[in-house]
Amino acid sequence: MRQRRLLTHNIVSTNSQTVWLFVVPGLLLVLLLGLPLLALFLRAFTSDFLTYALSETALAALKLSLVTSLISVIISLLVGTPLAYILARWDFPGRAALELLVDLPVVLPPSVAGLALLIAFGRQGIFGIWLAAIGISLPFTTAAVVIAQTFVSAPLFVRSARIGFAGIDPQLEEAAHVEGATQWQLFSQVMFPLAGRALISGAILAWTRALGEFGATILFAGNLEGTTQTMPLAIYLGFERNLNVAVVLSVVLVLVSIILLGVMRKLDKEQPK
């Protein structure tokens, strides 16, 4: 910490002219990122904030968003943790391809994700036909919202968890093997506790992504208040109905995101070592 401060000071004093090289472009980006959010807050708090925030549409959307995103995070934890562990600690043919597949949804446009989900698991979808045969139809259901959110957010969790598992000293693993530990014992008693922070920060990242999911949801799950209309969908439609509702809902979503990111940063800072 002390060292870093000295270093910064050093740059400033030796060549103050080139400081602008960093400050000006950096400031431009800060303005680009900050001004829209500032405008959102200014606009929201001059209008009748609570009336809109507590409206039936807003509350239904908030509740649905919180419930679906929490379920999708739990799913990510349950199925993503083993996958992240496999990717981080095991060596097998095709691992690189599997990593690519898991990373892909992070960079895919959500509309592509939504279309792919619809074509795969829709009622007339390639695999959806099998589901339909046993009486399950996913599109337009809350389950479809959870699937869309998991599709786009689980990869973020897996990525973080994988890095967490990979960062553990291999000697610990060897020691456990020498002691005769099974894979499960190694995972549950050594790896899981050591990677805990990476798992939690990955889960929070996935949660914020799931909360913000829009494109895949509107294509795969449609838009019905109380069933599939999450916060981002309500904001998009509210924009056309009443801008104030959209602005207020946006601010609520920004606040929730700030809290989640704040918790994540705190966890990162508290990390021992």
Partner: protein, 289 residues
């Protein structure tokens, strides 16, 4: 020396930022005639159009239901007026109206209902009494080619357990659909409208989304414009009798702040002309009278 370059670059950047800031921000992706979504209206295109004294680019915001017909009209208008480039932004009329209110640069607005046009007149963005009705449209019920729910009459729409897709009530076609359901409610048994609405599984953002959900076979029925069925001949139609139907009247107007109002007026005249009306008719729209 290095410092000068940095200062120059910074100033250039700030200028560019100012240039983007000047014309009000465009929120919408603007579709090229072909229909491929393109985020046009970047700083570059704004600078290019202000640099030329006579802008030859016409920006038309048009209701989603007009996508095919106006794309054709755009090509024909370009062919008739060499050097002119027509750009389209297709979407729900209510979304386009909001975009224009928020400062999107458009020359011509074609709405699927008079409500959105009237709102722009009230805002002072369209001169009063300048909007012309240029076509009419009617509604129809569409079913997937396989007709998974085995529907055949309008009364069938109230059968419990159906998956029905409508446009949101803010979208013109969604509002028209509610009017049709009101009329049917009066002639069919009471409670018809509520039973039908209980079957709605999604309220879409524009009419094309409703058509897409039916084309994919994901929903059992949807209510769209008659003109939408031209591009989807495989779909099964349930005709709504004209006494229970609505007449959707589409208004067209040049915006008060159109960059080239002469060109905008020429485009409107073309849409109203026999050539323009023929193209509209080809795409399933009905004449004004």
């Amino acid at each position: 020396m290095k410092l000068h370059i940095i200062i120059f670059l910074t100033l250039a950047l700030l200028l560019l930022l100012g240039a983007c800031g000047n014309p009000a921000p465009t929120i919408s992706p603007i579709n090229e005639t072909a229909g491929a979504p393109l985020p046009v209206h970047t700083a570059a295109s704004d600078i290019a159009s202000t640099a030329t004294p006579e802008p030859k680019t016409l920006t038309v915001f048009a209701a989603a239901s007009l996508t095919n017909a106006f794309s054709d009209i755009g090509k024909a208008f370009e062919a008739a007026n060499p050097g002119v480039n027509v750009k389209f932004n297709f979407g729900g009329s209510q979304a386009l109206r909001t975009q224009i209110e928020q400062g999107a640069q458009a020359d011509v607005f074609a709405s699927a209902n008079t409500r959105e046009m009237d709102a722009l007149v009230t805002d002072g963005l369209v001169p009063a009494d300048s909007a012309k009705i240029f076509l009419t449209n009617q509604l129809v019920v569409i079913l997937p080619a396989k007709n998974p729910a085995g529907l055949s009459t309008l009364a069938d729409l109230s059968k419990p357990g159906l998956k029905l897709v409508l446009a949101a009530k803010e979208v013109p076609v969604g509002n028209y659909a509610l009017q049709v359901l009101d009329k049917l409610d009066a002639v069919l048994n009471t409670g018809y409208k509520n039973k039908v609405l209980a079957n709605v599984v999604s309220y879409e953002n524009d009419v094309k989304q409703v058509v897409a959900k039916i084309l994919l076979g994901e929903a059992d029925a949807g209510i769209v414009y008659l003109s939408d069925t031209i591009t989807a001949p495989d779909l099964i139609k349930i005709v709504i009798p004209s006494e229970n139907n609505v007449v959707a009247r589409y208004p067209l107007a040049a915006l008060s702040h159109a960059k080239n109002s002469a060109l905008a007026q020429a485009f409107i005249a073309y849409v109203m002309s026999a050539d323009g009306q023929t193209i509209l008719h080809k795409w399933g729209f009905l004449p004004v009278n």
